[in-house]
């Protein structure tokens, strides 16, 4: 008893949902691929992007300014965090890295709660993208359509940065073999700082772009973090195209499953992740040996 209009709607919605997941996940996967640090504060940085954007919006009334505020604030925070804390953990065991990023994440969330309380806050979409669009086969919030475009552009910029610049070349080389990059005399230390900043910026950018879709609470990043991990695992740890593919797959799984039985939407997501781990332990587009 599939209703075709609903199926097409869900297919489309999966794409929109997946695009956003792809953007958040790309930041996580770039950092992990290059630095080997699994940043559990990534969800909190996504949240901070939303709040920084909210503050920016309150002062300027401009959505563009809000996006800039969200992205730049979290990028700066990322750089500071890397210089002050994270870099001391590169040579420490993985569990130390997990603990320190997890702890930082909690601190960020609670600091925000201290200043903004747990009350939901809203950032309205830009006037151009308010309202609902009739796509013929469905009605869809205009801003969500815009998000697909915004994310596509952002991912395009990230792609150019990673695949068409010297920095990107070093980053990708670092993902494949950071020891070799180091021994070739490249200042890996500075590259790491920049990579962490870019990864954080992707999270912050996603946070403020997502803000008009959801209402902001200090916990907004916690739930998304889990989904982001699933995306990274499905797509392949450290793989930028993998994050995009994983994001789209995750979005479609949630949407399509919910059509049949919504309570299984997240079960199916984890089932898919398990399947990928069994069949292709390095993810769909990941390569063996990356760490």
């Amino acid at each position: 008893m599939i209703s075709w209009p609903n199926f097409v709607s869900q297919l489309f919605n999966g794409l929109a949902l997946g695009a956003l997941l792809a953007l958040i996940s790309s930041g996580l996967t770039i950092i992990y691929g290059t630095l080997g640090v699994l940043n559990l504060a990534h969800g909190a940085m996504f949240m901070l992007g939303g709040y920084a954007g909210y503050v920016g919006y309150q002062y300027s009334g401009s959505f563009v300014a809000a996006v800039a505020a969200g992205a730049i604030f979290v990028m700066i925070l990322g750089v500071v965090m890397e210089r002050v804390v994270i870099r001391h953990f590169y040579h420490r065991p993985n569990e130390d890295q997990l603990l320190v990023t997890f702890g930082l994440g909690i601190c960020f969330v609670e600091i925000v709660r201290l200043f903004f309380s747990s009350q939901s806050l809203s950032v309205p979409p830009p006037p151009l993208f308010q309202g609902i669009t009739n796509l013929g086969f469905m009605y869809y919030p205009t801003y969500r359509l815009a998000v697909v475009g915004i994310v596509a552009i952002a991912l395009g910029v990230l792609f150019l940065l990673l695949y068409r610049t010297r920095l990107g070349m070093i980053v990708r080389a670092g993902i494949e073999d950071s020891v070799m990059v180091d021994s070739l005399g490249i200042n890996v230390d500075r590259v790491f700082m920049v990579v962490f900043g870019i990864g954080a910026m992707a999270a912050g950018f996603a946070g403020i772009v997502n803000a008009p879709v959801v209402s902001l609470t200090p916990g907004v990043g916690d739930d998304i973090l889990v989904e982001t991990f699933v995306v990274v695992v499905i797509g392949g740890v450290g793989s930028f195209p993998g994050a995009i593919l994983g994001g789209l797959i995750a979005g479609e799984i949630i949407s399509i499953t919910s059509m049949f039985n919504p309570s299984y939407a997240y079960v199916m997501l984890f089932a898919a992740m398990t399947l990928v781990l069994v069949v292709r332990p390095h993810g769909l587009l990941g390569a063996a040996g990356r760490e």
Binding site: S9, S215, P262
Partner: protein, 452 residues
Amino acid sequence: MKRLMIEQPSRLAVSRRQLLQTAAGLAGASMLPAGLMPRAFAEDRPAVGTFPAGASGSSVFIGITVPRTGTYALQGEDELKGYELAVEHINSGNDLIKQISPKTTKGVLGKEVKFGVADSAAKPNEAVQAEQRFITENKAILMTGSTSSAVAVALNKLAQREKVLYVTGISGSNDTTGKDCVRYGFRQCFYGQTAAAAIGPIIVKTFGKNKKAAYLTPDYTYGHTVTKSMTDYLATAGWTTATDQVAPLGAPDYSSYLLNIANSGADVLLNVNWGHDAVLSTQQAKQFGIFDKMKLVVPYQTPFLAREAGGDLMSGVYAATDFWWTLEDKYPLAKMFVAAFEKKYGYKPEWGANNAYMQFALWAEAVEHAGSFFPPDVIKSYEEGRKVQSTVGEVYFRKEDHQLVRPVIIVKGKAPKDMKNKEDYYDVVEIVPGEGLMQKPDAFGCSLGAYT
């Protein structure tokens, strides 16, 4: 997926002879009217739970767990304010407390009330761990808190196992005083069955018979039982369920559920989601244009929903709730409560805070009436079915399932232009008396369990 599993190891190795002796003693004691018992005897009771250790000093301790993080954080903080105000009033012998608990002077049985607070994040395991710690380390004589029925049910079980009283915070599931009821647990607030029976007739009157309903249901005991109660009631008026969208607690996005609803052909959307989930799903439903096609009903109102959802989202929407501050026009105690709360915290109290306040006040009343902290005596005091004054008029506990018999308040959201002040979000359209709303005490499979 979120089924609750609480181990209940039998920790007390009691011989059959001891058990018989205790039972015989209790049976004998229960024949004496509580008022006739000399105080000295009351303090010679056998050890039950944290009694007498928890009641032997100059103060007694209450363990509170509310969600301060996660989806229900805002409601948890509000609930906590209600508890704090109640403790302050109890310890100072405030007039409001004396109206509810006439025997109160200062403190409870002259003992100062102290409390500890832990964050449950609305998770049963975290709440149970925290309360277990309060029992072990602080000899808590009373436990409270929950804004999730999953937590309430878990703490019910802990209370019965540890023989320490538990008064629920917010809990809307039928199970809390239904199949998961316990001798040591008491609930003040309304729940799925009474919500459905109270708001159902208004829904049918407003929207007509033989309509199609869509549900947004959170995937745990609260959501399932509230949706079931609503479905059952509306079926009697020929309503059918077009779709029931079950989502996990704290879902980050509702778009796929909302598309299913948009395509379901329903006339009315009943949003059972709670806390931030209710805010987010209602806002997103608006984004998806759902309210152009169908009307919204909120069967179990979330504190701050109208304020958080913003704009005119709740305008014209019917909701069932436990308390709304404009009841101060009708009930003198509500007026005192709203005034005291607003003075201390700077805003009008929501129903979570009122529920919390009343739970402590009713506990103080029950203990004062029993004249002892001995848990079986306090429970029997609750079970007498004594009429007590509250912020919503006269109420009493039903002895068979420990559910307070109290009215359900039906409110209707105001349009922003009609609001007389910034917190004037709702009109109270009906105060539905409690008795007629409740199921038969055993209809949901309640079996209270033992006193000791």
